[in-house]
């Protein structure tokens, strides 16, 4: 009799423990569900995954052809520590109208001197002052999502081919 009681108690205790663990694991999943595989691969929502390595700065690069006329050209050199703020603009040290020729750098285009009424001013206007708003350094980063972007000349080529057919 004694052993039967002992066995029943043990069995009850084990079932209880199993139930508890099942509940807690379900709760874990509710608090931190698996993340959808988007830009951020794998893991759950609450987990912190290791960040991918920062794309390398190309040390020796040529200037890139723009994909369409209005594209802000990418920066073909390292811009680490470049100060661009109210006090000083390091980019304009070489790319300003006055310094571009001596530095052998392309001058910022005329659009940078236009205010929002289209009036050309003597200096780079505030709305075009912060270079990295539009221009980014060219790196060897892989695109995060697939792109079916066509450069302008390909669009034209394809359009002409479509007309001929």
């Amino acid at each position: 009799m004694k052993t039967v009681i002992l066995r029943v108690t043990a069995a009850l205790a084990i079932t209880g423990l199993l139930c508890l663990s099942a509940i807690s694991s379900a709760q874990d999943q509710r608090l931190s569900p698996p993340a959808p595989d988007g830009l951020r691969m794998g893991g759950t929502l609450a987990e912190t995954m290791p960040a991918p390595p920062i794309a390398g700065d190309p040390r020796t690069v040529e200037r890139e052809v723009r994909n369409y006329p209005e594209q802000p050209p990418v920066i073909p050199h390292v811009i680490r520590d470049y100060q661009v703020d109210r006090r000083f603009n390091r980019c304009l040290d070489c790319h300003s109208r006055e310094d571009a020729v001596e530095a052998g750098a392309p001058m910022v285009s005329i659009t940078h001197f236009m205010d929002r009424e289209g009036q050309v001013r003597a200096a780079v206007t505030p709305r075009r002052y912060f270079c990295t708003q539009c221009h980014v350094p060219q790196t060897d980063a892989k695109p995060l999502v697939e792109s079916d972007f066509w450069p302008a000349e390909k669009v034209i080529r394809e359009a002409i081919r479509g007309d001929k057919q």
């Binding site: 680490r80 520590d81 100060q83 703020d85 109210r86 006090r87 000083f88 390091r90 530095a103 052998g104």
Partner: protein
């Protein structure tokens, strides 16, 4: 006053009565080591990053701006800290700079740059003082690490090689003429007097 000085002068001129020659020479020698060594150790202590940034003036502004620049962290792990650029390494020049820097204690006591606004207002003046100093000593502190003789122009960008092999080699320009604002943020340059 004159009699008082006279007494000490006579005392110094008289031969010692109580102490042996050996004690005096050996004692003088040991005391020399202690005082000289102590002096240099104390001076070296004022050359550390911890000492410089122990005042909030230095901690809140220049120290924060230094962090993130190439002189703070880089792929080879060599760091240039405050004294590497602001104090010459050679003893004579170091002492001269240290005496000059005692004025900074005055500034600290009277709080000349103890708020961000005061610091911003003085930024140009402070920066220009350093630029003039480096211009006058031919960028001595830069050259502690960056030696002109060890530069390989072929590894530099075309424009850098061009500038280094002409203006720098000829001695018309020195490092600071072009390389301003490399470790701290630049002031508004509109009122600057020393521009390249």
């Amino acid at each position: 006053m004159k009699r008082w000085l006279r007494r000490y002068w006579d005392l110094l001129r008289k031969p010692s009565v109580h102490y042996s020659l050996g004690f005096l020479t050996l004692g003088g020698f040991i005391a020399g080591i202690i005082f000289w060594g102590g002096f240099n150790t104390a001076m070296e202590a004022t050359n550390t990053e911890a000492f410089c940034t122990s005042c909030h003036e230095m901690y809140a502004n220049p120290y924060q701006e230094l962090q993130g620049t190439i002189h703070w962290s880089n792929r080879s792990g060599v760091r240039a800290t405050c004294s590497d650029c602001h104090v010459p390494h050679e003893w004579t020049h170091k002492i001269a700079r240290k005496m000059e820097a005692s004025k900074e204690v005055w500034g600290w006591i009277f709080g000349t740059i103890d708020t961000e606004e005061k610091y911003e207002e003085k930024r140009l003046e402070l920066a220009q003082r350093e630029w003039h100093r480096l211009k006058a000593n031919d960028s001595l502190e830069c050259r502690n690490c960056h030696e002109f003789e060890s530069m390989d122009f072929t590894l530099q960008e075309e424009r850098a090689a061009q500038a280094h092999s002409t203006a720098l080699a000829g001695g018309d320009k020195t490092c600071i003429d072009c390389h301003k604002g490399i470790a701290h943020e630049l002031p508004d340059m509109a009122g600057a007097t020393l521009v390249q």
